[in-house]
Amino acid sequence: MAILADFKAEKPTWCPGCGDFGVLNALQRASVELGLDPEEMVVVSGIGCSGKLSAYFGSYGLHSIHGRSLPTAQGVKLANRELTVLAAGGDGDGFGIGLGHFIHAMRRNIDITYLVMDNHIYGLTTGQTSPTSDAGMITKTAPTGAVEEPVHPLHLALVTGCGFVAQGFSGDIVQLATIVKRAIAHKGFSFVNIFSPCVTYNKQNTYEFYKSHVKKVEDDPTYDAGNRFAALERVTEANALLTGVLYEGDRVTFEDGHAKYSTKGLATQEHTLSDDDYVKLLADFR
């Protein structure tokens, strides 16, 4: 059984205090608690501070290109469905350049987990407006304040039919680890948006801000995580400052929807076509 140390790899180079440390810690804890084997896991990341997660987590890691962690991760899973596959990205990576893939990954419902480290800013490129930057937020690329409406990832996930929608906060690793555990255990595509403060470039969406504004759905006995439309309403009312599992439902996965798709990992199977199959297939062209 793997222990916490087994899920550690290279020493992170994130700024001291970066929210992404909390995400890494929560993922490591969740993996230990689920009894996962690092050699049976793949973390696929995009580009940005969040993209470094694949290098810092002690499993197989694939650092893809900007915005494309989702299709890359889906490819890994399709090749070997016996692996536990996670995709990770940031708000720029996932809701800017890669937004299209997010919607289609939810539709497709391949059994992977998507962690977005949402800091409302472009960190690695030193402080430009991101798709989730609040309206009016002043940055290098919006010196008079952002005028565009931010992307609303939770709403998007809920209306797109995502089977598992959650939100966590780097400042609450215990809750986040519990959410991540459930997300990995969920059969189908699971989405976890994580408030992961950028301590260097975002002085607005800080730990303090989230600590004083975020409410946990676990603390609200009236919250029904089985009702997509109720969740939409509650998320809207709370201005999306809710954490916990916001919605979970059953949907047929892409893998199960394709009845003849192998139940075993394809990567490990025989690649040779039998003489018999060869002749049969060729008969189509007569």
């Binding site: 790899a9 002690g58 197989y60 694939l62 890994v76 692996l83 690649h271 060729l282």
Partner: protein
């Protein structure tokens, strides 16, 4: 008696022109004739002129004929648009419904027959069978039995209902009888009997799809695009039979990155696209090169730039395929010339991709991908599966816990053993960032140089087998150089020129990268004059040859970029013209 005949059917898109051509071609292929059928179509579903030009021959041909013997017309536009292709003595058989007339620019002695296709079809059950009536009329002209298409119709409709088969056959008979009743026989248009030799009948894209199955492909992520979609549509039907799956992705960026993910995880995976999709794949192609992930990409070229001519022939993606993606990566680019080679090159592509651990692109053109053609039986023994350098489990067992596997270990040939996620002892990191032997980011100057040399060195000095094929004189006055589907028209022009007593040669390039400098250079050295024939405006192959340091004092570029492939006569005339000019 003809050893070969050129036939065309034309009408409005959506009125069964395709299926008429298909029934005609498949029936004759079943009889042992060799078929080459090229469709003219537009980017719309209903309406607009479409035609199918079919060459029927007793020997294998890889190109359309210069001229037409028989034209089957369902509207006047077909006669007006295609009439100029008819040779003297050719025949037009047209539906009496539209009162067909011959235009002024038509060859001498072309005869028009007006047969009531639609009316006879209605009398036999339904107007939709007018194309069967037309096939019957054609059968009489060509001296075929009216039941020449019985086996094809049986296999097409037999499962649905015998009544449909019988009705169609009755319609064919009605057309045959109506043509016969015209009181004229056409012995000069009768086909010589075929050797009963069974061969395949398929499009190049089918051969690629089948090749992928034979190569062990289980996953294909792709986005629909003409003229590549057939590969995807074929595999959608077949992959489930081997436990695999096709994913219709949201775009080509997803298609290639998903391919990269699946290949990294150990499954043979391919994607297929055409020009616009290829452009979208460029960044991901660099990731595959940088991470040494074997991927196979099919690029079926169509007319560019931008949306260009989506349904027309061109060979203008070569520069993009060879030089595309930022930075410098090794790439293998295979350019098959025939349907048979679409099969073998696809099998090879997977072996090369895994052997050299780099993106491998199979580049075809619209004529090759979409022309329905007879092909010799594909050889099962050709198929080998070589997964390249894989880590020895004994070595993996030696990896100390906490240490990483050296996925990018420096080796003498630059190729490092691979492991797949899930393997014990194989933990490592993969990134598009410059990295060290275990895949960790490393921006050091010495490391970057060493890693660049490792990746690019994998193909340094490599010349793949059969990268240039050659026919003709050893020391030709004119050497023709081509790539892709022009193999057919150039090869046939060569035959004719040789028969005319001229000294010519044909070097065909089947591998664009690593470029066969030696194999082609040897041929160029022996020639007095070199003509590089290709379907693009800027002479991409011509310049590629020079880029690789090959030169010749009498080397010229011959390009065609009107959306149609070369026919043999064009090449023949070009060579004759340039020989006269050169002798001056």
């Amino acid at each position: 008696m003809l050893q070969e005949l050129s036939w065309k059917v034309g009408g409005q898109q959506g009125e069964g022109i395709d299926s008429t051509g298909k029934t005609f071609s498949s029936s004759l292929n079943r009889m042992g004739y060799f078929i080459y059928s090229y469709r003219h179509f537009s980017s719309r579903i209903k309406g607009g002129h479409t035609n199918d030009k079919v060459r029927v021959s007793t020997v294998q041909r890889f190109s359309s004929a210069d001229k037409l013997d028989i034209l089957l017309a369902f509207d006047q536009e077909t006669i007006d648009f295609n009439g100029h292709e008819l040779r003297a003595g050719g025949v037009v058989v047209a539906d009496a419904k539209f009162n067909p007339v011959l235009p002024a620019n038509i060859a001498d002695d072309v005869i028009l027959f007006s047969i009531p296709f639609t009316k006879l079809a209605e009398q036999n059950g339904a107007s939709i069978m007018k194309n069967m009536v037309a096939l019957g009329a054609t059968a009489f002209v060509m001296g075929l039995s009216p039941d020449f298409c019985a086996a094809e119709l049986q296999s097409k409709f037999g499962k649905k209902s015998q009544k449909i088969v019988d009705q169609n056959l009755a319609a064919v008979q009605a057309g045959y009888d109506a043509m016969k009743a015209q009181g004229q026989d056409f012995p000069e248009l009768h086909l010589a009997p075929a050797t009963p030799d069974k061969h395949l009948f398929l499009i190049g894209n089918d051969a690629i799809g089948f090749g992928a199955l034979a190569a062990g492909v289980k996953i294909m992520p792709a986005y629909p695009i003409t003229p590549a979609s057939d590969v995807m549509e074929y595999l959608i039907k077949k992959l489930p039979q081997v436990g695999g799956v096709v994913v219709q992705t949201e775009d080509e960026i997803a298609a290639l990155t998903m391919t990269i993910g699946a290949s990294y995880a150990g499954s043979r995976t391919l994607t297929a696209t055409s020009g616009p999709g290829l452009s979208l794949m460029m960044e991901a192609m660099g990731l595959a090169g940088m991470t040494e992930t074997p991927v196979v990409i099919i690029d079926t070229q169509r007319g560019g730039p931008s949306t260009g001519l989506p349904t027309k022939h061109e060979q203008s993606d070569m520069n993009a395929v060879l030089f595309g993606t930022h930075g410098e990566i090794p790439k293998i680019v295979l350019a098959p010339a025939t349907a048979e080679e679409c099969f073998t090159a696809t099998v090879d592509a997977f072996n090369y991709a895994e052997k050299y651990q780099c993106p491998t692109i199979l580049i075809t053109d619209l004529a090759l991908s979409l022309a329905s053609q007879s092909a010799k039986m594909f050889d099962y023994d050709y198929v080998t599966i070589d997964r390249g350098s894989l880590a020895d489990p004994a070595d993996l067992a030696k990896v100390v816990p906490g240490e990483m596997f050296k996925r990018y270990a420096h080796t003498s040939d630059g190729v490092s053993p691979r492991v797949f996620p899930g393997q014990k002892g194989g933990l490592h990191h993969v990134t598009g960032v410059e990295h060290n032997e275990v895949g960790r980011p490393d921006e050091g100057q010495a490391n970057h140089v060493k890693m660049m040399d490792k990746r690019l060195g994998k193909l340094k000095g490599v010349e793949l087998p059969n990268s240039v094929t050659y026919q003709g004189s050893e020391n030709p006055d004119v050497l023709l150089v081509g790539v892709g589907s022009s193999y057919g028209p150039i090869g046939e022009a060569l035959e004719r020129l040789q028969q005319a007593g001229l000294s010519v040669g044909h070097a065909h390039v089947h591998v664009l990268s690593p470029f066969p400098v030696k194999a082609l250079g040897d041929r160029m050295k022996n020639a007095k004059q070199v003509i590089v024939a290709e379907s693009n405006a800027t002479g991409q192959l011509f310049h590629l040859i020079r880029f690789h340091g090959l030169s010749h004092p009498e080397m010229q570029s011959y390009t065609k970029y009107d959306g149609t492939p070369f026919v043999p006569g064009e090449i023949e005339n070009k060579v004759k013209g340039s020989m006269i000019e050169w002798q001056r």
